[in-house]
């Protein structure tokens, strides 16, 4: 079954040559959904009839005039906090159990316009927050590498679905690591683009100044193809950047000879030491990148805990503000985990928030200075392999500092890539970080790393 799962790039080439039928590709994904999703819970809502109708229409158009682009006929999924016209969008919450939006979110509309085939809405943590909840109408997603283990979140369903080949790519959102965390635990690629590059219009907020939308797929190249469709100015999003969109695949094959890569050793060696397997993955990745011709340097930043404190305080307050009305009137309808998150707003003062925002400017300036002579920096994504799903702490905000939050605080683009496998057979990952709007460089380094390693040849064992 695993051998039958192409990347988006490979599928696009075959579709363009009329050697792969979008209808057959869609049916293959739907077959895997029927077979595997009862164990994975990656989907809240499967849009099978619509998907087959879209696939037939795509196939007819391609046969008549060729594909309109590399995403034409590609099966995808959308995290269920992304509004979809006429399709239930629950945010995995009782409060929106019957919600059917009357228009598409910007990212959904852009992917639809690019010709993708929507297979359904993928599982999330409730309102993209709180962790795996067992007290909601929908169960949390399971990790395809071992279904007793956590996917991370909150883009948990998209991560699991891509890893298991239920879709070829999809949308995640990332406020403190919700694209990159599941990408790491599920062994796929996931990029949080620069803040403002992808419109947030029509996507449920978690924390306005930290929220990002981005693609998740099997490879960095596939992320580049999805990002090409997603990026661009949207006046409906006040944070949306009004600047030209580059070609994200044009430089992928250029290699990284002479690239300058900084390693934030103290994040994963001192501030919060990672597991031996994660450390091995990072060290091997550094050796691989050096072998490809990159120049490796050490980078010093403020301790990971400072970035975490800044991001967490901002996140707590912005979330409490966004959901204040429901927290006051319908708190008991949220999962216990989200109730806990919303309660936290009561203990953070307005002055705490403003000091966090001031700290954010200092931290961003620090990263800007550290990267002045670098192309990308590297650190861990997660500190270890995915834990068992029943061991995730209820107060995970305080359990360990996040390696991902620094790049939500700074708004810099960051991608998670599989860098090996741990003792439990689950993936471990590295995180590469670029400069603002320099996704072409970030994706080139990521693609070069993936091509030089063998981790993209291995799929979860439940597929074999």
């Amino acid at each position: 079954m695993a051998a039958a799962i192409p990347t988006i790039a490979a599928a696009a080439r075959l579709i363009a040559k009329k050697e792969l039928s979008p209808v057959e590709l869609t049916r293959a994904c739907l077959d895997r959904i029927h077979q595997l999703d009862p164990r994975l819970h990656a989907f809240i809502h499967v849009t099978e009839e619509r998907a087959l109708a879209e696939a037939r229409a795509a196939e007819a158009a391609i046969m008549a005039g060729g594909p309109k682009g590399p995403l034409h006929g590609i099966p995808i999924g959308l995290k269920d906090i992304v509004d979809t016209k006429g399709i239930p969008t629950t945010c995995q919450s009782r409060l929106l159990a019957d919600n059917i939006p009357d228009q598409d979110a910007a990212c959904a509309a852009r992917l639809n316009g690019a010709g993708t085939i929507l297979l359904g809405k993928t599982t999330t943590h409730e309102f993209a927050d709180g962790g795996p909840s067992f007290d909601l109408p929908w169960p949390p997603a399971r990790n395809p590498w071992n279904t007793e283990h956590f996917t991370a979140g909150s883009s948990s369903g998209t991560g699991a679905a891509v890893a298991a080949g239920l879709i070829l790519g999809g949308i995640g959102t990332d406020t403190g690591g919700s694209i990159r965390g599941p990408a790491a635990f599920c062994g796929i690629a996931g990029i949080k683009p620069t803040y403002g590059l992808v419109s947030r219009a029509g996507v449920a907020p978690a924390a306005f100044s930290l929220d990002h939308i981005g693609p998740m797929a099997w490879t960095a190249e596939d992320c580049a193809l999805l990002l090409q469709a997603l990026a661009g100015h949207d006046p409906r999003d006040p944070a949306s950047a009004n600047r030209p969109v580059p070609d994200y695949t044009a430089e992928l094959e250029r290699g990284i000879k002479g690239s300058r890569i900084g390693v934030i050793h103290h994040f994963h060696e001192v501030d919060y030491p990672v597991s031996p397997a994660t450390r091995r993955g990072i060290d091997n990745a550094i050796a691989t990148l050096r072998g490809l011709g990159a120049e490796i340097r050490d980078v010093q930043l403020a301790p990971l805990q400072d970035w975490g404190a800044c991001g967490s305080l901002i996140s707590i307050v912005e979330r409490a503000a966004a959901y204040e009305e429901w927290a006051r009137t319908r708190l008991g309808e949220f999962s216990e985990r989200v109730q806990r998150r919303l309660m936290l707003g009561a203990l953070v003062s307005g002055v705490d928030y403003v000091q966090a925002v001031r700290r954010r400017r200092e931290l961003r300036a620090e990263l800007q200075a550290a990267m002045a002579d670098l192309d990308v920096v590297l650190t861990a994504t997660q500190p270890n392999e995915a834990p068992r799903i029943d061991t995730v702490p209820v107060w995970d905000t305080f359990a360990a500092p996040s390696f991902m939050m620094p790049f939500n605080v700074s708004g810099y683009p960051a991608i998670s890539l599989c860098s090996g496998f741990g003792e439990g057979g689950l993936p471990v990952a590295i995180q590469l970080v670029g400069k603002p709007f320099q996704e072409p460089t970030l994706l080139r380094v990521a693609h070069s790393f993936e091509k030089a390693t063998e981790f993209r040849h291995r799929r979860p064992p439940l597929l074999t």
């Binding site: 305080l313 705490d352 107060w395």
Partner: protein
């Protein structure tokens, strides 16, 4: 050490936030007061009163 969060102070903060919490939830919230205080300590650095916050704004052509 952060200042102690008394039950009366906690009740005030919860009421100010407009929340209705059970006794168990209040205890749960109180249990993370120290961690939140540590975060609040970490974002305070010697920076002086002239350092502006990050989301001050400037007018652009689109505002005119």
């Amino acid at each position: 050490m952060p200042p102690e969060l008394t039950d009366q102070a906690l009740d005030y903060l919860i009421a100010r936030a407009g929340l209705s919490l059970t006794e168990a939830q209040k205890a749960d919230l109180k249990s993370v007061h120290a961690q939140l205080s540590e975060m609040a300590r970490r974002v305070r650095k010697p920076r002086g009163r002239m350092t502006e916050l990050a989301h001050v704004y400037n007018f652009t052509e689109e505002d005119l």
